[in-house]
């Protein structure tokens, strides 16, 4: 299968990434269900195999928006603005899924669906930034002003991501600290659980790239249609 960009260029990479991501999800699903229960949480630990990749995708998405926003401000190419928005759309969707899966995990383990502790509060700020990004986009009609304003939000909003990631270490929190700690390289997980999580993280990463590319192509066609109507 191939997608055709409006420029006529054929895109075989997006369907390949999509297929790879879906295959990875299937393998990850199988591995997660065959992994052992946790010594403390029992089978509840299975929520982790979805919750962690979902949260990872949110962080990834805001960095995608950051990268494309900077690229837009440097190159002034409307394509980068469309890609930044496509990445933010995925970020908004998956941040909602992260909160939902986290709430379902929090109730049986912590005892509450939600509490205003540092990790959860910084994550709520992340969602508010994503929502604000799209409110501003829909409010401004001039394409160049819209692209500039949303690039500014994309860049400023990404400051929150490292704060959110480190919040469990910097402040007292209810949320546990990182299991796979990127600052020290320590991993506190049974190998078969880690394998299932890693496969899911890879699958979500592939799906993220595929979805951003797919959304970029759709947005490109929408923009051309709009131009044809006005021009």
């Amino acid at each position: 299968m191939q997608l055709t960009r409006s420029s006529g260029k054929r895109d075989g990479l997006t369907p390949a990434l999509l297929a790879g991501g879906l295959l990875g999800l299937l393998v990850g699903f199988y591995l997660a269900l065959s992994a052992p229960p946790d010594v403390n949480q029992g089978w509840l630990v299975r929520i982790m195999y979805l919750h962690v990749p979902m949260a990872w995708l949110c962080y990834l998405a805001i960095f995608g928006t950051l990268g494309y926003s900077i690229a837009y401000l440097v190159r002034r190419n409307p394509r980068y603005d469309r890609m930044a928005a496509a990445s933010a759309e995925l970020g908004l969707l998956f941040s909602a899924l992260t909160v939902l899966s986290g709430a379902l995990w929090g109730r049986p383990t912590w005892g509450v669906y939600w509490t205003w502790e540092p990790r959860l509060t910084t994550f709520a700020i992340l969602i508010a930034v994503y929502v604000g990004y799209f409110v501003v986009r829909s409010a401004i009609e001039d394409p160049e002003l819209r692209a500039n304003a949303s690039a500014a939000i994309g860049i400023l909003g990404s400051i929150n991501v490292p704060i959110s990631y480190m919040s469990v270490k910097w402040w007292r929190s209810l949320h546990q600290t990182q299991t796979i700690d990127l600052t020290t390289g320590k991993v506190n997980m049974e190998p078969s659980m880690l394998l299932a999580l890693m496969v899911n993280l890879l699958a979500f990463t592939l799906l993220y790239i595929a979805f951003v590319r797919l959304r970029g192509i759709i947005a490109e066609r929408e923009a051309e249609k709009l131009e044809a109507q006005h021009g």
Partner: protein, 143 residues
């Protein structure tokens, strides 16, 4: 700009301001430890606070009839007796990190909500599944 857009922007900016200045600043210290309480008892008297620490081993008493739960929270230096009502979360056990929401009543802490911290370490149980004795014990405890 249409009114709905102005409304949307005001809403988001308001939410952000609330989260950053209201939510985050008061939650940067998510819970206080028993030692911190005894250092400044007057400050925490008669107001809702979160008390955090470990459940001291051998202090948990749970009455299944009236759901009264008593235990001691310790930070290794000072300790506070906690009284709360309700079935504790499944992960509640001795030496577990907990955060209790409630108020101090003299030397005792009156908990309204019991939250349990869990470890970031995920491991399989050592003996695989439950042994018949463990299952028997669980069934007895639920009766």
């Amino acid at each position: 700009m249409k009114p709905k857009h102005i409304f949307g922007i005001v809403l988001v900016v308001g939410a952000l301001a609330y989260l950053i200045f209201g939510g985050l600043s008061s939650n940067l210290v998510y819970f206080i430890t028993p030692s911190e309480y005894f250092q400044n008892e007057a400050k925490y008297a008669n107001r809702s606070v979160r008390l955090g620490g470990l459940v001291k081993a051998g202090t948990v008493r749970y009455n299944k009839d009236n759901l009264q739960l008593n235990f001691v929270v310790t930070d290794g230096v000072r300790e506070v007796a906690v009284r709360s009502v309700g079935t504790p979360p499944a992960l509640f056990k001795e030496n577990q990190g907990v955060v209790v929401e409630g108020k101090f009543a003299g030397q005792e802490f009156q908990g309204t909500n019991l939250l349990v911290k869990h470890s970031e370490d995920y491991q399989a149980p050592k003996t695989g599944n439950y042994t018949p004795e463990q299952i028997k014990k669980i069934i007895q405890e639920t009766n």
